[in-house]
Assembly symmetry: C2
């Protein structure tokens, strides 16, 4: 039997940066996924019992003899999958040694921390069983769409799906969701993985990927909500790498220099985030009000973008995207840290496919990468595949 999990990426609909200064922010899942497939090795299938990890998008494959992994985790006797725990300093050291031995090529060294997270989650949840794990993703890496969180969530979900802590119907056809308590467990394990990758993650990305839908957050408190509407976004990846820490620090410095003005800017963002959550949750009975809702969301995005620019986190490539989409009267805003990264453009329901194609062609001719994504769908899901 093969267990498959898919976990969605995320976008920040409103409130990035301002959330650091106490404003509300709103994140949502998108229907672009990271997929994890897990298949335990049958006793006869391998000469040496090993754990294999296949990263399809990076065209990398790793394999560890189970005995080596067991040596790296000496204190683990029985896996405690029901109790998410952090990787200790000693354990992190052992894992780092295992990963170093892989000699990952320099150009793909950014994946090393993901491999470490994999080893920690796998061993902690499944112990030392030989298996093959295959990863593939529709999400660009390191572009602020929550690819690492989706990886950790899908991995934790696949691993937990075959433990006693989860009761799913293995004969169900197609994708199936976890129960609430099980999602909580997946989310907590994924957060432990995110800590290995990012050091101090906010926990937003893994929560959105695990639970899906829309989450507003303010001062560290998350509020989950369900959108009453289905929005479509064009996501443009400028492919410009960002230094999130430097961008966050830049906003704080600007705040120190212009305290009064920036306080008002952050308050304006807070109002926008609140209005957005209200708008997305209100029932929309007919097409006319769908259009009205979309106009409102577009206007709030445009306003939020202006405020982000006044915080100084825009970038020439972001301006290029804005200018291009403005020509087609489409509302856009950066999503995440800014300074490059991704830009969201609302695609209204009634917008013709021809226009969408034109916009995408123009953006791609500037060297950008475009995705179309639905906003606010399900979180992580599982599928069991039985070989016939």
């Amino acid at each position: 039997m093969e267990v498959k999990a898919r976990a969605p990426g995320k976008i920040i609909l409103a409130g990035e940066h301002a959330v650091v200064h106490g404003s509300t922010a709103v994140a949502s899942s998108i229907d672009l996924y990271t997929y994890v497939s897990l298949r335990f090795s049958t006793p006869s299938s391998d000469n040496v019992e090993s754990l294999r990890l296949q990263l399809n998008d990076a065209a990398l494959e790793f394999s560890w003899p189970i005995s080596r992994i067991r040596d790296a985790f000496p204190e683990s006797v029985a896996p405690l999958f029901s109790k998410p725990t952090s990787c200790s300093v000693e354990c992190a050291r052992s894992i780092a040694a295992l990963v170093e031995d892989l000699n990952i090529p320099e150009a793909k060294i950014g994946l090393a921390s993901g491999v470490s997270a994999f080893l920690w989650l796998y061993s902690s949840i499944q112990g030392f069983k030989p298996a093959t794990v295959v990863i593939s993703s529709e999400l660009p890496l390191g572009s602020g769409l929550g690819s690492s969180a989706a990886f950790c969530v899908a991995l934790a979900a696949a691993l937990l799906a075959v433990t006693d802590s989860v009761s799913l119907d293995v004969n169900h056809q197609g994708w199936v969701s976890f129960g609430e308590k099980e999602l909580d467990l997946v989310n907590k394990w994924a957060f432990e993985g995110e800590k290995i990758i990012h050091g101090k993650p906010s926990g937003i990305d893994n929560s959105v990927s695990a639970y899906g839908n829309i989450i507003s957050f303010k001062s560290g408190n998350l509020t989950r909500m369900k959108a009453n509407t289905s929005l479509k976004m064009l996501i443009t990846n400028t492919k410009v790498g960002r230094n999130t820490k430097a961008l966050v620090a830049g906003v704080s410095e600007r705040m120190m220099r212009h305290q009064d003005a920036m306080a008002f800017v952050f308050s304006a963002v807070d109002s926008i985030s609140k209005e957005l959550t209200t708008t997305l949750q209100s029932p929309t009975p007919d097409e006319l009000s769908v259009t009205e809702m979309e106009e409102k969301v577009g206007e709030l995005m445009e306003m939020n973008q202006g405020l982000l620019q006044s915080m100084g986190v825009s970038h020439a490539t972001i301006e290029t995207v804005l200018r291009t989409t403005l020509k087609y009267k489409l509302a856009s805003k950066l999503t995440g840290a800014g300074g490059g990264g991704c830009v969201l453009t609302l695609l209204p329901t009634l917008l013709s496919g021809t226009v969408v194609d034109k916009v995408i062609a123009e953006l791609e001719s500037s060297g950008f990468q475009c995705f179309i994504a639905g906003v606010g769908g399900n979180g992580v899901e599982i599928s069991f595949e039985h070989s016939s």
Copy 2:
């Protein structure tokens, strides 16, 4: 003897649109001028006594027999140049008839109201003396740089300079300024001219053009101040015509739809305008602090631009200018109504001429028109030229 007057254009440094909703705005003069030359005809120089108006930039020339003008203003016996008065409805009708007879070509019909203002100011201040008035300007028309106000101010100044209400040394070489009381009189007459051109002008443009320097305004109250620094701006005319009324209405509508967020946006602009006036008035003893001051001004401009975008008054051409100047790390903001019009880019003192040339070349290759202007110089000035 020829009397020459020159009156500066203006830019809005901060607060446009937000000022309509109670925020502070800051305007300043620029060293781009409209010139008016006035020469009374000597009795022998014309067969028929006439008033001639020459608009150099439009390549138009008009002439009226003095008798026709006298007929249009039947109630005027003696000119009351010391008492600025509004053009009455009947008088406006007579003037309109005079202007209609000129058969101004369709493409230049926008100048008609300026000709009307000319006829009113000339007759009210100088009565019915035959003369030749020549107008030329460094300011693009209808681009938000206060070209009509500069025209009215320069015209009123030239006309008043040769009345008893003004005492100037006619033998002074070069440009000379008016006294305070005389400036007040020039400014009031210019405002009457602006009313003929614009219907309901705010009075900011003519005040900046008359008094020069920097003027902050809030809720209809003007505060004149002197900058302690000399800033240089690159002014880019996008050549896209705007509908100021529609733009102002658009912001008000957005305010009604998103009252909380927009109130914070306007408050942020108010803080920016106040900080800007404080910064511009503070003494800058050395080059280091000039650079610091320029960085502060640039940052405030960038913040203001973001807030203007959140009000929805940007335009694709403005975005193009922003994107171009951002590449060179130069701060820009739209000035005036937005939706096209002009964009300001701060040129720091230490910026190399090569970079300036590059930026200008790139902007002009996009079809824009560039000017370099000093900020906050003198207001209207007079020069007497004696033919040798």
